[in-house]
Amino acid sequence: MPHRGMPTVRSIGAKAIDNVLRLGYAARFIGLTLAHSGTSFARPGLIVRELYYTGVLSMIIILVSGLFVGMVLGLQGYQTLTTYGSESALGVLVALSLVRELGPVVSALLFASRAGSAMTAEIGLMKATEQLSAMEMMAVDPIARVVAPRFWAGVISMPLLAAMFSAMGIFGGYIVGVVLIGVDEGSFWSQMQSAVDVREDIVNGVIKSFVFGVAITWISLFEGYDAPPTAEGVSGATTRTVVTSSLAVLALDFILTSFMFSGA
């Protein structure tokens, strides 16, 4: 063996090449998914079924955590604002932090661990039990029949879930701030309404959650489709889905925020 002296360097190089190859495969995968989306729009029943598993089943965890995040924001915001005597700005603080950042980001993280991991495990197991190969044998394209409906269901449900999270969080902030602590109700809502802009804040939040939805479903579906067809391979792919999509969400959030809110 001529290269025996440097196994570490060689393995780093091999890893790098492997990752670039996987990235190219992932790009080809999303292209194929988009190209084969026609079937799922011709048969909306496929998307509806997946919307149930990704959207409806994630609703409870999103609503409950939204409520608690909003309540914590109300408590912490009140503690800080009251030292400056401006606790009437509590509504602004709760609404802006939820609509701009916490709503899209936290619901995307929850969505990745609740729905994204399930998608990876399901598709990985379908591959391991050779269901995908069986479909190909029957001349059914697994990308059009299995992957594309899940992709669109994820992309549709993510902005809706983020909006529910924000609305629920503001309700939680209202309960703690106005009902329990006793901040003036009128200034809570009116200051919020004069500070939150529909296009600048709310639409930007929706755009963020849409981008996160694309990223998370793409990563989850690709990890499942690319998983080694063994029990170990599927479990590793599920873990990678959660880790990679969480990191992707946080990194994308920084990029999007610097584009959207830097010119204020």
Partner: protein
């Protein structure tokens, strides 16, 4: 689970999501109190607008009557030209005074209108002639210090 139950739940999910978006737009954002009603535009020139921003409130007697539409620099008079969109329901006489005020000590700035006694009303494109600039805190403090120093200088001898 039957097909109809599935459809029902997904329907509930989509309706709840859209309802959340509508709540955010109308209850949290300011879509409901702005954008609907008709407005007319009037201008005012200020020597200094301080920290006034577009979309700031225009109040008269504490009631919001409109919003600042745009702020530009008037290069002929070297003043700031503020265009205000006032709701059509509110009329102001020609000799109205516009002043830039601050909500609280460090709060956001808004324009306050005070009606005069003229019997002609402002129309679209009209300008308010009587304006009062924003109070710039740094100027006020330096003026105060300067006055104090001048006082001290004259009293001593």
């Amino acid at each position: 689970m039957g097909r109809s139950m599935l459809d029902l739940w997904v329907g509930i999910f989509v309706v709840a999501g859209i309802a959340a978006l509508v709540i955010l737009a109308f209850k949290v954002g300011n879509m409901s109190n702005f954008g609907g009603g008709d407005t007319y535009e009037i201008n005012a020139n200020f020597d200094n607008i301080g920290g006034l921003k577009p979309r700031a409130a225009i109040k008269s007697a504490g009631v919001v009557v409109g919003r600042v539409k745009s702020i530009t620099f008037n290069n002929e008079r070297f003043t700031a030209k503020v265009t205000m969109a006032i709701e059509s329901g509110y009329k102001f006489p020609k000799d109205t005074t516009a002043s830039i005020l601050t909500a609280g000590l460090l709060g956001e700035q808004y324009i306050g209108l005070e009606g005069g006694g003229d019997d002609k009303m402002l129309k679209t494109g009209d300008s308010i002639r009587l304006t009062q600039s924003a109070v710039v805190l740094e100027k006020l403090i330096s003026q105060f210090l300067f006055d104090k120093a001048a006082e001290g200088g004259t009293q001593k001898p």
